[in-house]
């Protein structure tokens, strides 16, 4: 059969081919196949759906929120859920809880994104360098990592916030500083295995230097397990941010950060349960979504399990 007899491939066939015709084609086909594998995991898709919804809500907050999150209306304070105009109720200053949750999603996303970038990157860098260099560099870097690991997470974060002052940026910094050591450990462990494989030997035999080997050959292999770990840790990071907010050391009033909202609501928790419960539910939902997504990503990115 000649090429001309073959029907023109559909998009799906083009993406599922075993014989890509260009660099971009190969890359797209690879991504499409990973997406197909991911799509098969319904729980992960559910998690992804929630997170996409969160991004959507955060992006369109001014149009979605029925009220201004900061405007107080003492006449309508502590309205129960279901009150006309206040679907999820109002808090002690008469602010609409739904609107505050919608605006709070922006803060949550902001914290999550910053931590998710800073901590794994720092960990990846420290871990791969330590693992690949070995010797003194390894000992030094890993002892520093150990020191950070030895501190209780929230206490160290508290100390940082206490030293630098309260606020979202400092909370992010504090959480990142306590979050990177586990990533460094993972990256180092992976590097130690990868370092002695034949494909790394092979590129060394082409005269490649350590910098090229670490960035172009080791990082791409570490990143997938880090991505999985980050998504699974995300719930903890949201809770840590909420915890700092709850203790009054993260976002400051009147900011609608979810942890801070719970903190405000605790005074009325017995008589007016919804003030603390609604932001609690929001934290719960988003944390769960990240965990489900992380599980799904692990199935796709971590080929150790599954297959064979």
């Amino acid at each position: 059969m000649s090429i001309n007899d073959l029907p023109r491939p559909t998009w799906r066939e083009w993406l599922l081919t075993d014989t890509p015709t260009s660099r971009n084609h190969a890359r797209l086909a690879n991504m499409y196949q990973a997406w197909l594998a991911f799509r098969g995991n319904h729980m992960a898709m559910f998690g992804l759906g929630i997170l996409l919804f969160l991004v959507f809500v955060a992006a369109l907050a001014p149009w979605l929120a029925p009220h201004d999150p900061f405007i107080q209306d003492l006449g309508a304070r502590l309205q129960p859920p279901g009150t006309p105009g206040y679907i999820l109720g109002s808090d002690s200053l008469g602010r609409d809880i739904l609107s505050r949750l919608i605006y709070g999603s922006r803060i949550t996303l902001y914290i999550v994104t910053l931590v998710a970038i800073v901590a794994p990157l720092a960990g990846l860098f420290v871990g791969t360098v330590a693992g690949y260099a070995g010797g003194w560099a390894d000992i030094l870097l890993m002892r520093i990592t150990d020191i950070f690991l030895a501190f209780p997470r929230l206490v160290l974060a508290l100390a940082f916030v206490a030293a630098l002052g309260a606020g979202i940026e400092n909370a992010v910094l504090a959480i990142s500083l306590t979050a990177w050591p586990p990533y460094a450990r993972i990256a180092r462990a992976e590097t130690l295995t990868i370092r002695n494989t034949d494909y790394i030997h092979a590129i060394r035999l082409q005269g490649a230097g350590p910098l090229r080997i670490i960035t172009k050959h080791i990082w791409p292999l570490c990143i997938s397990s880090l991505v999985v770990r980050v998504t699974l840790d995300m719930a903890g990071i949201i809770l840590a941010a909420a915890g700092l907010g709850f203790l009054g050391l993260g976002a400051q009033p009147p900011s609608p950060e979810w942890g801070a909202m719970i903190s405000e609501g605790r005074k009325f928790i017995l008589d007016h349960w919804w003030v603390a419960t609604m932001p609690g539910l929001a934290i719960f939902t988003v944390s769960l979504a990240f965990n489900l997504l992380g599980d799904g990503l692990r199935d796709v990115l971590d080929p150790k399990e599954g297959k064979s």
């Binding site: 014989t19 890509p20 690879n30 494909y199 092979a202 035999l205 082409q206 005269g207 490649a208 050959h217």
Partner: protein
């Protein structure tokens, strides 16, 4: 001039009481354009010699001379342009996230070639893979195809010497025949010098002119292929190996 000369080579791992001597006082030489086989059972130190030549570890002493130059413990890129290696397991020697194209183009650019596109096509053709394979990832290739890619990578810098570490032991017999034929063709076309390691005497016998038999880190015997085929061995160990590799019954 000899391709490779090894004199009194010792290789060890670990220090003090943990020290393991993997190679003890090995000496042999491979003429330029020759084909030499190192044979032995696992743990005999045969692969270790190859890796010491390539500079994959530096706990060695003795003399390694390649193309008339005595090697120090440091290898530069110039060395790797002349000497390349093919690894045993093609499933482990290709980066799992890099396509054939990425592997070859990085190798070529590291060695400072300019006409990378044309060279990749030529290399793939030389190892018997069509252009259709260029953008595939290792998981889309069979074992034999992977080994062809690994050979193409080793040939990319146009080396004069190729070290082969059990290049077919992870492959099916029919694929082994293809790879062995490819290796003999390449040697004839490019006037390559081969130093090959294998536990399979038949494979070494097919590709090499002389062999050294290793046992527990030492070279026990160096003999020509003709002597090997005629079972003209000085050492009993060599004869045991030969008989064992001929099948179950023949042993008596």
């Amino acid at each position: 001039m000899n391709g490779i000369t090894i004199e009194n080579l010792n290789v060890w791992f670990g220090d003090y009481e943990d020290r393991v001597d993997a190679v003890k006082g090995a000496s042999f030489s491979v003429p330029k354009g020759g084909s030499f086989g190192l044979v032995g059972e696992s743990g005999s130190g045969k692969s270790t010699i190859l890796r010491a030549i390539m500079g994959l570890f530096d706990t060695w002493s003795g003399k390694i001379e390649v193309l008339g130059e005595t090697l120090t413990h440091k290898r530069d890129r110039e060395f790797y342009r002349k000497v390349q290696m093919v690894f045993q397991d093609p499933y482990a020697s290709l980066h799992p996230r890099q396509s054939v194209d990425q592997v070859l183009s990085e190798t070529l650019s590291l060695h400072g070639f300019k006409d990378i596109d044309a060279r990749i096509s030529k290399l793939l053709e030389d190892v018997g893979l069509g252009p259709a394979f260029r953008f595939r990832y290792p998981h889309q290739l069979s074992g034999g195809q992977r080994q062809r890619v690994a050979i193409a990578r080793a040939l990319a810098p146009e080396p004069e010497i190729l070290l082969l570490d059990e290049p077919t032991s992870a492959l099916d017999v029919s694929v082994q025949a293809e790879i062995l034929n490819l290796l003999s063709d390449l040697r004839a076309e490019r006037k390559l010098t081969y130093l090959m390691v294998s536990h399979d005497l038949a494979v070494v016998g097919h590709l090499c002119h002389d062999i050294a038999v290793m046992q527990l880190g030492k070279i026990v015997e160096v003999l020509s292929i003709e002597d090997m085929r005629a079972l003209q061995t000085r050492e009993d160990y060599t004869r045991t190996l030969l008989q064992a590799s001929m099948g179950y019954e023949l042993r008596g």
